[in-house]
Symmetry: C2
Subunit: 362 residues, 2 copies
């Protein structure tokens, strides 16, 4: 009998690259930049960046923080690295050493840039068009001098509802963007869209698209079936199978009670591995035995290291068998829906855990 | 004007050590073992273990996985390291190299151990008393030979409701534990309690307590005020302050709409830094100006890198000012409550993020 104890995280870099290439094809008139912030959404920026640079020909990368840009610079010596959160005293050195391109979103950020300019670097200006997050409002744009405007190499904004094709906000933001761009930066190349906007068509793609979530396999166009390949699979071994007698409770705070005799499996993965605790009593895991797929409902609260699930109806299960936690047929998007959140959050959590047996495919 | 862009994570090791010492005092007749699984709940096991070993005199450590035990072994050459998830083919080498002590929770795990015994190591037996997670059920215990029983050095179990002082499960599990221990392992030392059980008194402390959450500052006795010191503080800089006109939407999917003109701040931290996305539209951040504390409600959805909050009533705020995200007065427990989860889950997520400016105190 095989006994395993560690959860397994499989990251399919071949699929990730295929997704990037597919997105590049969809937005063929635009530069296809890769968003690798948050350690490439937890999948490890070094591995992802290397793949995209060497095999995808990607030469434009977006990160959130200077520190993240500094980490990937050695891997992509001649690429453009843009930093969405901008430049500050705490990151100035990273910008200087790694020749990072700041995204400037406010007058105070611009003032800082002007006081700390890096020779040969021309920042991006981020304008606000409806998300009400970072970005110059028109009242700020009016205060820019001609010299200020000439500082920039690209004008960008960001969609609030790009994943909802028919949402009125899309057209609203597109109109706002054109209005502000034409008025203040008519000669600059433009970027409005992340993955979701890329699927809204050429109008939204403009000169540069910022490809993140979809590249990692997330469905950013949920109004139709996912056209991206799945990148992340998670498996975890069954440590124990036990009888759960009628009337017994399961897990912390005794939130589940058995109405009749059940059989349970204790699976070696928990919220300490990034699986959302909100799956308690509502999530499920899967088992494949002899080609047959069985669903096992999560009972009680997830704990840090374990999930308890109902395997009464799962045939032939043995300790050491692997449960599918995330798979091609139960993706991060599915788990996000069951957990009351979005796949982005789960993806960003899972990959940062160091106790997975981590396997890269491709 | 100071401009900062990175969030800051402060880990107070002095308070952590004080908590350990206080818990040791409370359970003075028991061995005070430290639970440092999940990379010390995300705070980095190497730093935490070194502190506890060198300054707290701690010589007993619990981890979840063999791989975690193997990582800390060089720091604590003569300590006992127990592995809660047990031993398997995928971790055998770690047990051999680092002389780890497996916790054995099932007959199949025992069979594996007997086939791969490590000279001089005597495992722990974990018995099930009401949590219905890992552990020998009585039907399994009946199958043990005398030789099997003599394999073990410690008998343990785990409470389901130790954080609820009056919960009937506590006495129920205590009775079950004594019954099974006396019947099968009368001569072995015993361990029933983690932090929460430690506060239930000497009956629950037995020979060894497994101190985790409380040591990290979590209130594991929420029926009274927290007696532990706070260990984790998180701050994040304001990148921008902007007007939010009446009728405007905020954030992804436009889930918040302003009823009147407001002022908002965009704070440089998000779910990519481990802050729960479930705080969208319900959480809050705090600002201290001139000694005055102001609360700023989170508006719209948290994004990966940013929180947008209402600062209409916050006096004198400037870009670059730091928001208190987690603090002595708004702890992980408070955030857990607002986010619909427990502080454990947040703690475990936050510390694994590599883009914090990370400061250890003490």
């Amino acid at each position: 009998m095989s006994i395993l104890t560690s959860p397994i995280l499989e990251i399919n870099l071949t699929n990730l690259l295929d997704n990037y290439n597919q997105l590049k094809q969809i937005s063929r008139h635009a530069v296809a930049a890769a968003v690798v912030k948050d350690d490439a959404y937890g999948l490890h920026a070094d591995v992802v960046v290397k793949k995209l640079y060497e095999e995808g020909g990607c030469r434009h990368f977006f990160v959130a923080h200077g520190l993240e840009g500094n980490r990937i610079r050695p891997l992509v010596p001649d690429a453009q690295i843009y930093v969405l959160q901008g430049i500050g005293e705490d990151s100035l050195e990273y910008f200087q050493n790694s020749r990072l391109i700041p995204v400037i979103s406010s007058l105070s950020a611009l003032a800082f840039w002007k006081a700390h300019k890096i020779e040969g670097i021309r920042p991006v200006i981020n304008i606000e068009t409806g998300l009400n997050r970072l970005g110059f409002r028109e009242e700020d744009l009016k205060q820019l001098s001609e010299d200020d405007k000439n500082e920039f190499s690209l004008v960008m904004s960001h969609l609030a509802c790009g994943d909802a094709k028919e949402h009125f906000m899309n057209q609203h933001q597109l109109d706002n963007f054109h209005f502000l761009k034409n008025k203040y930066f008519s000669r600059l190349p433009a970027s409005l869209s992340a993955s979701d906007g890329t699927f809204l068509g050429e109008d939204y793609q403009m000169d540069l698209v910022r490809l993140g979530a979809a590249m990692y396999g997330i469905n950013t166009a949920p109004y139709r079936e996912n056209q991206m390949k799945n990148v992340v699979c998670i498996k975890a071994p069954v440590l124990q199978i036990a009888n759960l007698p009628k009337g017994d409770f399961v897990g912390y705070s005794a939130t589940y009670r058995a109405n009749d005799d059940r059989k349970i499996a204790i699976v070696s993965i928990g919220y300490g591995d990034g699986i959302p605790r909100s799956l308690s009593n509502v999530g499920k895991v899967f088992f494949k035995n002899d080609g047959k797929l069985s669903e096992a409902r999560i009972l009680g609260r997830l704990s840090m290291d374990n999930i308890i699930c109902d395997v009464t109806e799962v045939p032939g299960l043995q300790p050491g068998d692997l449960a599918d936690i995330v798979s091609d047929y139960y993706t991060l998007d599915d788990m996000g829906r069951d957990a009351g959140t979005i796949s982005y959050e789960i993806l960003s959590r899972v990959g940062k855990n160091t106790r997975y047996i981590r396997r890269y495919i491709g």
